[in-house]
């Protein structure tokens, strides 16, 4: 009996073996998250400006694709798109839950943010919410806090929804974003973004 078992394993071992620890890998995969450390090597490899996004423990890098009038378009690994102005997310596409301020208001938003409150229409997906009135209230503005020249805290309020959610932006002395914390959806988790501009 033992000879038989041994011969099977010997036969298997003298051939090319593809050992699959499938179940263990799957469990490991379920509990592990994508983790990225931004090093100088990474910066020089990427060459372009990029952002590091952290959402629910997972991380991803989006690369700067376009920049017009201070509005930056960042592209993700699966062609997800993210438009920002000085760290404020104006619109996303291709994410599980997308977010978008009315694009006709972007110009006026860029004149108000980060100095004052403003109003616009906001659209969300999953669940869908189209063109709901939103007031984005400036809650606090502090200087020289935790490496930020300016730290701005806004609160996003949707009409009829009594659950405002905060958004925090850390800007340098030129008004460029260093990092931000913003929710894309009142039911979602906070999206953390670190900005790495390089020219």
């Amino acid at each position: 009996m033992n000879k038989c078992i041994c011969s099977i394993f010997l036969l298997a071992s003298c051939a090319s073996i593809d050992v699959d620890l499938g179940y263990f890998n799957l469990v490991k995969e379920s509990f592990s998250r994508n983790s990225i450390t931004v090093t100088d090597d990474l910066k020089s490899d990427l060459q372009y400006s990029f952002i590091l996004l952290t959402y629910d423990g997972s991380q991803a890098i989006y690369v700067l694709s376009e920049s017009n009038d201070g509005i930056d378009l960042w592209i993700g690994p699966m062609l997800e798109k993210l438009w920002t102005f000085r760290g404020l997310i104006l619109k996303t596409s291709g994410l599980e839950q997308d977010f978008g301020f009315n694009s006709e208001d972007w110009q006026s938003i860029s004149s108000m943010y980060p100095r004052s409150s403003f109003k616009t229409n906001l659209s969300l997906t999953n669940p869908p919410l189209f063109g709901s009135s939103a007031s984005i209230e400036l809650r606090s503005l502090s200087f020289n806090v935790q490496g930020c020249h300016k730290e701005v805290i806004y609160e996003i309020n949707l009409k009829n929804l009594k659950s405002p959610w905060p958004a925090t932006f850390c800007l340098d002395s030129f008004g460029k974003a260093i990092r931000s914390q913003q929710k894309l959806n009142p039911l979602g988790k906070i999206l953390y973004i670190e900005f790495y501009y390089q020219y």
Binding site: I8, S13, A15, L21, G22, L26, E29, L129
Partner: protein, 707 residues
């Protein structure tokens, strides 16, 4: 005119603002009752989760502890299986049989939607509780639900048997006197006592479910309890018929609940529901096709010689996990034969192969044809013009592509090709993982488990010849106290399960099966097998399958000479031997993807009869199904349960991963394991091996083609 404008704007504003309710009342789906299926607190309701969902629900409502597994094969069907721990009753009055263990009651419930809710009409459902069991909680009901506004759901119903608390006269008496009295079944259980349905006194029940705004979907429930606790074997005190409680959604899937019932009992529970049926239920981004950024450079090389085409195809396909077996260039057509064990969807494997070949093939190639083989048997061929391929790739329109994509059956045997790369056999695949052998709900104790380390391997000696093995070694178990002995009057082909479990707690061989596969014609497959087929039987046998590629049916026959194995699951055998085999008819209903499998023949205990198996396969490849068998043995010979029946589900594990692979977790349950109507469970049945060999399967997953 102004009024018209006003109404237009009003309508527009309503549609724009309507979705805000999804944010004010998040997770506002239905919730589970103490009986395990969707409902209020004790009462059922007419709500359903969407098809492809599965749920586990647990509740403690003294003296009952209840765990339920609930499946939604369709939007209109709820099927639930429950174990109830009845704390105020012993499993058996004979202490030697079950000690001081409390009673464990199994029950099966179904609920069918009769009318879907509309703006003005309610949703109506008909349900049957505790079907075919001991009848301890059996009841029938018709219930209606109406959503009023975004946060209020009202339900009202009429019930019979265990749901007849306020004893109104049965309205069905007007139709027939048969409904006047309800007789208690006096048999071995496990049968559908259809004759007693909706008979005896009836009762009314109802209640409301209110979603509290801005409390993250928290619900308040209040109901007029329809349960007649006096009909239960140990009647319970009921101080009030009004029950009330709260449900809090920790997440969309996980709900916890707390309620107060009978005016004297605080109870709590939780439920977890998961969508397993949609194409990508966990919203995990799958690994995309390997990109070839230097496509034009590769094409410059491949246009110099056909040899370069073959070598480039071999290299780039292997990076995708696709193994090129043979290839030819015939005038303007490149034909590649490949095998793969990575992609579940034939459209995905063919799509990736064709798209990679399109990136590397020289310009003179106008048509690409690929043929997939499995176990040396041809599964299908897919052929497409390259210009069409690119046009619809740019338009991201695989469905339109379908009309230009030619798919056909394929026979591998005897085909001549120019490029025949050598494969160095034998090739081995080894998978190591945990395994749990369990015994649930017996008189010795509720749960006995044996955690094992299991290794499954496949050794390919050639394309057609393989050896599959499954061995395991015990890590930890509590099987020592298991002592239930078989009382079956039939040959003990399954009921000696306890002896098998106890004797194989160390090292055991579950399978050691040698297979030879081939095909007579493109849709006619056969297989010879010998060795250890399963835990309890070894032997030799053969299987034949006719599966016409462009049809949705299959016809098969299998025949086996088997011998019962030693309890220790090594190489020894017992004296018992038999010939078993079946004629099989399969039909895959194309619109719902329901597989009907009817098989008739001789079973392991030498009884003859048929098994009907029905299952539904969802977009993710999640499968849920049920079966029953009838053979030429009497109910007394069969024993408890009267006839063999059960349910099962298979969960594709790749839905939890970003990778593509074919692994599946399967779990099935027979309410009672007996010896009648038991089939041999051999490895790799031909229906599964030839799964890609049907046009219906390819076309159904055509949207995978460019992924």
């Amino acid at each position: 005119m102004l009024k018209v404008r006003y109404y237009f704007l009003l309508c527009l504003s309503i549609s724009v603002n309507a979705d805000i309710y999804d944010y004010i009342y998040p997770y506002s789906g239905p919730s589970f009752s103490n009986y395990g299926s969707l409902g209020l607190i004790q009462n059922p309701n007419a709500r359903f989760l969407s098809e492809g969902n599965m749920a586990f629900s647990w509740s403690h409502n003294d003296p009952y502890l209840r765990g339920s597994l609930v499946a939604y094969p369709f939007n209109w069907l709820e099927a639930a299986f429950q174990y109830t721990d009845v704390n105020n009753e012993l499993y058996s009055p004979v202490p030697d049989f079950s000690g001081s263990q409390s009673l464990k009651d199994k029950s099966f419930d179904v609920k069918i939607r009769l009318l879907e809710e509309s703006t003005y009409s309610p949703q109506i459902a008909l349900g049957l509780r505790d079907l075919g069991g001991t009848g301890r909680f059996s009841s029938e009901y018709i219930v209606a639900n109406k959503q009023i506004g975004p946060n209020l759901d009202i339900s009202f119903g009429i019930g019979w048997a265990n749901l007849n608390r306020n004893n109104i006269q049965n309205p069905l008496i007007k139709i027939s006197d048969r409904f006047k009295e309800r007789e208690q079944p006096a048999d071995l259980g496990g049968k559908l006592n259809v004759g007693t349905f909706f008979s005896g006194d009836a009762g009314l029940f109802g209640g409301i479910e209110y979603s509290i705004p801005h409390l993250k979907g928290t619900k308040f429930k209040i109901e007029l309890d329809g349960t007649n606790y006096l009909t239960e074997s140990n009647p319970l005190n009921q101080d009030s018929r009004i029950n009330y409680g709260f449900v809090y959604p920790v997440s969309k899937s996980f709900l916890v609940k707390l309620s107060y019932t009978r005016g004297n009992t605080l109870n709590f529970g939780f439920s977890y529901a998961i969508d397993l049926g949609s194409k990508n239920p966990r919203n995990i981004v799958k690994t995309p096709i390997v990109k070839l950024p230097n496509s034009s450079v590769i094409q410059d090389i491949t246009q110099k010689s056909e040899e370069n085409v073959y070598k480039a195809a071999l290299l780039y396909l292997s990076r995708e996990g696709i193994s090129l077996q043979k290839a030819s260039v015939l005038e303007e057509e490149l034909h590649v034969v490949y095998s793969q064990s990575k992609f579940r969807s034939p459209a995905l494997s063919a799509g990736r192969t064709i798209n990679i070949l399109d990136h590397i093939a020289p310009k003179k190639i106008k048509t690409i044809k690929v043929s997939e083989i499995n176990a040396g048997m041809g599964m299908f061929s897919a052929k497409i013009d390259r210009r069409t391929l690119r046009r619809y790739r740019d338009l991201e329109s695989p469905v339109v592509l379908g009309s230009y994509l030619q798919t056909d059956p394929y026979i591998f045997k005897g085909q001549k090709h120019v490029f025949n790369p050598e494969v160095s056999y034998p090739i081995s695949f080894l998978t190591i993982g945990p395994d749990l052998v369990s015994q649930i709900g017996g008189p010795d104790g509720f749960f006995f488990g044996d955690l094992r380390l299991r290794s499954d391997s496949e050794i390919l000696f050639s394309r057609n010849l393989s050896l599959i093995t499954s061995v395991s070694a015990g890590l930890y178990d509590n099987m020592g106290d298991l002592k239930l002995a078989s009382d079956s009057v039939l040959p003990h082909v399954r009921t000696d399960i306890v002896k098998y479990i106890k004797a194989s707690r160390g090292f055991a061989i579950k399978r050691l099966q040698l297979n030879y596969y081939n095909q007579f014609a493109p849709s006619l497959f056969y297989k010879f097998s010998a060795g250890i087929f399963e835990s309890m039987f070894s032997g030799v046998g053969a299987e034949f399958l006719y599966r016409p590629y462009h049809q949705n049916y299959g016809l098969g026959i299998d025949l086996w000479q088997v011998r019962q194995r030693d309890y220790n699951q090594m190489f020894g055998v017992h004296d018992y031997k038999t010939i078993t085999g079946h004629l099989n008819f399969y039909y895959q209903e194309p619109s719902t993807n329901i597989l009907f499998h009817l098989k008739g023949g001789r079973y392991l205990a030498k009884d003859s009869g048929f098994t009907f198996n029905i299952s539904r396969v969802f977009r993710s490849s999640f499968r849920v199904g049920a079966f029953f068998s009838q053979t030429d043995i009497s109910e007394e010979e069969f024993g408890e349960g009267s006839f063999d029946k059960g349910f099962y589900f298979w969960v594709p594990l790749d839905i939890f991963s970003h990778r593509h692979f074919k692994k599946t977790f399967g779990w099935g349950l027979r309410p009672v394991t007996r010896d009648g109507a038991q089939s041999l469970t051999y490895g790799y049945p031909l229906w599964g091996v030839t799964d890609p060999s049907t046009d219906h399967r390819f076309r159904r997953r055509l949207s995978d083609f460019y992924e």
